[in-house]
């Protein structure tokens, strides 16, 4: 191992050890190994010089979590957010070149952590905020219009499939995480956690590049899941018979499609 390599390992080991939640037994040795490579040069001592980097590491990653998860931060309050940030930073050193991806694993962390997993709504809020981010900077594509579907010969309708805009995402959870997020966004008191029943939401980025989301009823979710999974118009009409009468089912599918085109969800018709 070259001297440069040794130095970089010692520096990174020190940063990671300093960011640990509980002081690791090796911290003193790790600190000393790095300190041995630092020149004493007058002014502030080597400990403070090293600490500046340790603080910067922790602060920069904490700020990333604050920026990406603003409503979660408000929901948790300072003390719990700090606990979450320390725990996540310690358990998930960044392997990314961009901080945009640093908190990608936060929902999983919150689901697995012994303390935070007791309150599943916390992981749900984190997952919802990551879905918003993913919709925000997903790939850009053209969007198809309802007129294109209308222009198709009638015999092609039963077999037609839809391709969705890359920003389209389905968010499902068992808590009132989105209602809580909305309340916090409006600076209102969040409702009490509620785990009664499944909830589903559709997120997408509209033509105006604003990220939008709406709640989905059971049949709307089934329709979206079906089309996203490659089901045809005919298959979807048949599937809707579980929710509607023979006469209503095709109309419900058609109405949903019309709305989706208007919302800019559809990229192409296949």
């Amino acid at each position: 191992m070259s001297q440069l390599q040794q130095l970089q390992h010692a520096f990174m080991d020190y940063l990671l050890a300093s960011a640990a939640v509980d002081t690791p037994p090796t911290l003193a040795q790790t600190t000393q190994t790095f300190k041995d490579k630092i020149a004493e040069q007058g002014g502030i001592n080597a400990d403070i010089r090293m600490q500046i980097y340790a603080n910067a590491y922790r602060i920069r990653l904490t700020e990333t979590l604050e920026t990406d998860h603003e409503m979660l931060g408000i929901y948790l309050g300072d003390e719990l957010f700090e606990r979450m940030a320390k725990g996540y930073i310690a358990s998930q050193p960044s392997a990314f070149t961009s901080l945009r991806s640093f908190a990608d694993a936060l929902p999983d962390y919150l689901t697995q952590d012994a303390f935070f997993s007791q309150y599943p709504i916390i992981a749900d809020i984190a997952r919802f905020e990551r879905s918003l981010l993913n919709a925000f900077d997903a790939f850009d594509t053209e969007r198809a219009t309802f007129a294109r579907l209308q222009a198709l010969p009638a015999e092609q309708w039963p077999g037609c499939q839809l391709r969705f805009h890359p920003s389209v995402q389905l968010f499902q959870c068992n808590s009132n995480a989105v209602e809580t997020w909305q309340a916090l966004k409006q600076q209102a008191s969040p409702p009490s956690p509620d785990y009664q029943g499944k909830r589903a939401w559709l997120l997408w980025r509209g033509e105006s590049r604003l990220t939008e989301f709406i709640s989905l009823s059971e049949y709307q979710l089934a329709l979206l899941l079906g089309f996203i999974g490659g089901a045809t118009f005919a298959e979807q009409c048949e599937m809707m018979l579980a929710f509607f009468s023979d006469a209503q089912a095709p109309m419900q599918v058609l109405q949903a499609l019309q709305a989706w085109f208007q919302m800019g969800l559809i990229r192409d018709i296949a």
Binding site: S2, Q3, L4, Q5, L7, Q8, H9, F11, M12, L15, L16, D36, K37, I38, A39, Q41, G42, G43, I44, A46, I48, R49, M50, I52, Y53, A56, Y57, R60, L61, T64, P93, S94, A95, F96, T97, S98, L99, R100, F102, A135, F136, D137, A138, F139, D140, P166, S167, R205, R209
Partner: protein, 299 residues
């Protein structure tokens, strides 16, 4: 040879493009000569960041500034990152691309900080070889920036300015001189910032950064979240005298103020350059944006 390393006329006075100012820039089309964009912020598939980048890039010359090249790391160069950088450069067509003389990651773990290197011959060779590889891959010279630092290594055997010059000469790259970083490091390491300026090879300096910092008395932290202080303006004046008319931009990374506040700071830079170099100097006459509007080739 060094005499003809810089072939590009100065772009004038620019600002770092920040998301908070996307609409202000597009709606008011302010009189800014050029913008610097943070490469990593646009390595996303699409959406608002890429939309504004395209729209603003059609109105102003852009340069790309990265923070994750990790040129001094002993990890292999991150080719996925370099491919993304090259793709972004193809899309943006920047006037130039820059990053920092530092390391950010080791063992695949990114500190997201610009960590200092030991100033040794071994490091010069290591860094210069990697810059050459990057330049070959991108098909262009890049600019490498001096970083602020808070510690020195026992291994270091030369001054920072000697190291920067040696890296630039060996790699045949250009230098982005951050005036604030020189000031910060001078305070933290107790050297005269003018010594630094006076030792840097003027033939390789193509851009200046100006920024603010946080002064804690015994030490100074490079926060890039304050107005440019008088100490850095003084150093900028000295830098203009030493290096001539170099493309200048104000880099604000946090505590982002209203766009008008940054325009006002840039006006201070323009005034200092006019006072120091004269009204007719190419830097002061530079109109990167105007040339672009008139369809003139800038490079």
């Amino acid at each position: 040879m060094a005499q003809d390393v810089i072939t590009q006329a100065p772009l004038g006075f620019g600002l770092g493009l920040r998301t908070q100012h996307f609409d202000a820039v597009l709606n008011t089309e302010p009189d800014i000569d050029w913008f610097e964009v943070l490469s990593e912020n646009y390595m996303v598939a699409g959406g608002k960041p890429r939309y504004y980048l395209k729209e603003i890039g059609e109105r102003y010359p852009l340069v790309m500034h990265g923070v994750s090249l990790s040129i001094g790391s002993t990890d292999p160069l991150n080719m996925d990152y370099l491919k993304a950088l090259k793709q972004l450069a193809n899309d943006v067509q920047p006037q130039w691309i820059s990053d920092h003389i530092c390391w950010t990651s080791i063992h695949g773990v990114n500190s997201h900080d610009l960590l200092p290197l030991p100033y040794t011959e071994e490091t010069v060779k290591h860094v210069a070889q990697r810059i050459k590889t990057v330049q070959d891959f991108l098909g262009r010279r890049i600019l490498m920036e001096n970083v602020s630092s808070y510690l020195s290594y026992q291994d270091s055997s030369m001054d920072e300015w000697e190291f920067v010059n040696a890296v630039a000469e060996t790699a045949d790259c250009l230098i982005l001189l951050d005036i604030n970083n020189i000031y910060v490091s001078a305070r933290n390491h107790n050297f005269n910032p003018l010594d630094y300026l006076n030792k840097i090879n003027p033939k390789r300096v193509q851009q200046f950064h100006l920024a603010g910092h946080s002064d804690y008395g015994d030490y100074v932290i490079d926060t890039h979240d304050h107005d440019v202080p008088s100490s850095v303006w003084d150093l900028y004046r000295a830098a203009l005298k030493r290096f001539g008319g170099i493309s200048t931009m104000i880099e604000r990374d946090a505590n982002i103020p209203a766009f008008s506040a940054l325009e006002a700071e840039l006006a201070i830079a323009r005034n200092i350059a006019r006072d120091t170099l004269g009204e007719t100097h190419p830097l002061n006459a530079a109109k990167g944006r105007k040339n672009m509007q008139e369809g003139k080739v800038i490079v």
